[in-house]
């Protein structure tokens, strides 16, 4: 099954870009993690058909590819929401009240690790994003929010119309 079936009806050059990434590594199985990074960047998540294609091209057993993809937290096997909130619960953020931010998001949106049914917001947690001086920190669509309060979070949510 071709990789583009991950997102039906979308015609683009993502497959070609993925192919290029694999050929740059000479289709070596050692480059599996690099290839998965590229694939996730291109497609947003790693669908089963996409993993199968990669396994086939790198001449690896599909079980090994799935094994690696599920082992690392960074890889997502489910599509993400339009907006993503990553709440840091590293030690510094934890003692600064990161947990209450997750509870807040869970009340308004979805459980940690899940996406709202309308596909609008994904809620995730991270084990330290290294911004401990800004605790508690939340990454909202790639940008770090510093010293976040539940109120600030709600403002952020209403900005994207998720409340």
């Amino acid at each position: 099954m071709p990789a583009s079936s991950a997102v039906p009806g979308v015609k683009d050059n993502r497959e070609k870009l993925l192919e290029r990434a694999m050929s740059r590594h000479q289709y070596s199985g050692d480059a599996l993690i690099e290839v998965l990074h590229t694939a996730q960047e291109l497609f947003g998540f790693l669908s089963r058909p996409l993993l199968k294609t990669i396994a086939h091209k790198l001449r690896l057993p599909p079980s090994r590819v799935l094994g690696v993809a599920t082992f690392y937290h960074f890889f997502s096997l489910k599509p993400k929401g339009e907006h993503t909130f990553v709440v840091c619960i590293g030690t510094a953020c934890y003692v600064a009240g990161g947990l209450s931010l997750i509870e807040n998001l869970e009340r308004h949106c979805a459980k940690a690790g899940q996406t709202t049914p309308d596909g609008k917001v994904s809620v995730e947690t991270a084990r330290c994003i290294g911004s401990c001086g800004l605790a508690p920190a939340v990454i909202c669509d790639g940008g770090v929010l510093a010293r976040v309060t539940p109120q600030a979070l709600e403002t952020e949510l209403s900005k994207i119309g998720a409340q």
């Binding site: 199985g29 937290h73 991270a126």
Partner: protein, 551 residues
């Protein structure tokens, strides 16, 4: 470029910078960027343009200036004034330098003679906050790549190893293995293919030292690795960097390209016979990959699971070849050691721990940020003189070493911080995360927090760690919800001993540490949770108790 051209370039850039009226340095490390430092920098550049000061005043980005809690930080170098919480609106005053304009900034001025700055000793972070991490010329002006030139021109590989041995430098990743000995082990191997690996998979929650070094001074790490490559006879190096560290990855990529273009990396370095290339490998979020054999498996494209040692990586590492693995901070220490000699370095620190250590201060402390102190500084100096103390409440404990470390209670505040003394009181140096807790933090919950982390991050290969961390977490969870019994405490201790003795790698072996050290220093908190179903810190909510009461 050759070594002479390098020195010429250095002199040229130093002269150019001296000719400027002012250099306005804007911290563009991750902490300040997330408070809007990029906007401040752009505003500064626009302001220079509009005031027509181009060529006289320069705005540039730098690495971490340390006081991350007060970002964005801006340093006006002509009058050595540091300002916190800078905004784009301050650009005019900063560029014009007019005293009247500067008044709006007065309240946000940070005293550079304050203990936070004066009590630190910067070796690893010497360039951080001073050079632009995206400009090679800046690094060269600060004496960059001169150590590599010195090693290649004046020293044999053997002499480089000897110098590192003499320095007494120990691995900064946490375990503290003597770096020189490790280099010697790899250098002795006769196989033609060897690798140098930089462990930048900084996974400890509450630690951001390596990130700051990579973001603030990436060339320093590249130079350290190239010197290592020369010393041990390797031609290829990998930096295994956390996928979460986007900015660090970007700056490393830029730095590698710049260095290759100028023949400071790649085929014929400094137009001599030595060749060394560096490739990045992006981690994918697995704490266990900080363990060296797991890291190797991950670079090879496999699940990051550790394997039995020996053979150790110096004998058989990446693809079975001899491999030198050092931490970011360790490599960053190498250029100054080569430049100033092993004896100089050995003169700093304590009897068995040499040099300095970078710590990331976080938690309940006034000055959160990044600091560097000589080994042997006391915790009191670090937390109260440099860190500015604990706002409002009372100090309870400091946690070092993350999920593999332990807590340090008040009675050890005057203990000199080095590898041995921390091990003696049941903690570890770790990679340098230092989390401060006050009397509102519950130690049982902190132990539970770290156990939850280890449970999530256990790779699942060996049973003691895979099943043991789950069991220990369940017990701690029962304690913090008021559902634990006296027996649970005995089981917890037995499991801790089991994990420590029978786990395959460091993750499992050290997972019980936070539990053991909180049990040792705060037994009364455990007792209160179990016997009285009460959390002395008022943190745990004890739903099990309220259920019983209403039933």
């Amino acid at each position: 470029m050759t070594a002479e051209e390098l020195s010429e370039k250095q002199a040229e850039e130093v002269a150019r910078q001296k000719g400027l009226q002012n250099r306005i340095l804007c911290c563009t490390a991750a902490g300040c960027v997330s408070c809007g430092a990029d906007g401040v920098r752009r505003a500064l550049e626009a302001e220079i343009e509009s005031q027509g000061s181009g060529g006289r005043v320069e705005a540039c980005g730098t690495g971490c200036m340390g006081m991350c809690g007060r970002g964005p930080l801006v340093l006006s170098s002509a009058d050595r004034q540091l300002y916190g919480n800078a905004t784009a609106a301050d650009a005019h005053a900063l560029v014009s330098g007019d005293a009247k304009d500067r008044q709006s900034l007065a309240g946000r001025s940070i005293d550079l003679n304050a203990p936070f700055f004066s009590r630190q000793l910067k070796i690893v972070l010497a360039n951080s906050g001073r050079v632009d991490p995206e400009k090679l010329a800046d690094y060269i002006a600060a004496g960059g790549y001169q150590s590599l030139a010195k090693a290649l021109e004046e020293m044999t590989p053997r002499a480089v190893v000897e110098e590192v041995k003499k320095s007494g430098l120990r691995g900064r990743g946490g375990a503290g293995y003597p770096t020189g000995l490790k280099w010697e082990l790899v250098a002795k191997q006769v196989l033609p293919t060897k690798y140098v690996v930089c462990n930048a998979d900084e996974g400890d929650p509450g630690a951001f030292m390596d990130r700051s070094v990579l973001e603030g001074d990436p060339h320093r790490v590249l130079e350290g690795m190239a010197i290592a490559g020369y010393a041990v006879g390797a031609q290829l190096g990998y930096i295994y960097v956390r996928g979460e560290y986007g900015l660090a990855i970007q700056r490393l990529q830029t730095a590698i390209k710049q260095a290759e273009r100028e023949h400071l990396l790649g085929a014929r370095i400094l137009e001599q016979g030595f060749q060394f290339r560096i490739d990045l490998r992006i981690g994918a979020g697995a704490f266990v990959c900080g363990e060296e054999t797991a890291l190797i498996a991950s670079i090879e494209g496999k699940r990051g699971q550790p394997r039995q040692r020996p053979p150790y990586p110096p004998a058989s590492g990446l693809w079975g070849a001899p491999t030198l693995i050092n931490n970011v901070e360790t490599f960053a220490n190498i250029p100054p050691i080569i430049e100033r000699g092993g004896d100089w370095f050995a003169g700093i620190g304590t009897a068995r721990s040499k040099g300095t250590k970078v710590f990331a201060l976080a938690g309940k402390i006034a000055n959160t940020g990044l600091i560097e102190v000589p080994m042997g500084a006391t915790l009191r100096e670090i937390l109260f003189d440099i860190g500015g103390g604990i706002p409002q409440r009372k100090f309870k404990a400091a946690q070092t070493g993350g999920p593999s470390g332990g807590c340090i209670p008040e009675q050890f505040l005057d203990l000199p911080v080095d590898y041995e003394s921390l091990a003696q009181i049941g903690s570890i140096m770790g990679s340098g995360g230092l989390i401060v807790m006050d009397d509102s933090s519950c130690m049982v919950d902190v132990a539970r927090f770290f156990m939850e982390f280890c449970m999530d991050e256990s790779c699942g290969k060996c049973i003691p760690c895979r099943a043991g961390t789950v069991q220990m977490h369940d017990i701690l969870q029962r304690m913090t919800t008021g559902a634990a019994s006296e027996e649970d405490l005995d089981t917890l201790k037995a499991l801790a001993a089991l994990l420590r003795e029978t786990s395959l790698c460091g993750l499992g072996q050290t997972a019980p540490n936070p539990v053991m050290s909180t049990l040792k220093y705060f037994p009364e908190e455990y007792e209160a949770h179990i016997r009285d179903k009460h959390c002395p810190a008022g943190h745990c909510r004890m739903p099990a108790v309220s259920r019983e009461a209403t039933a």
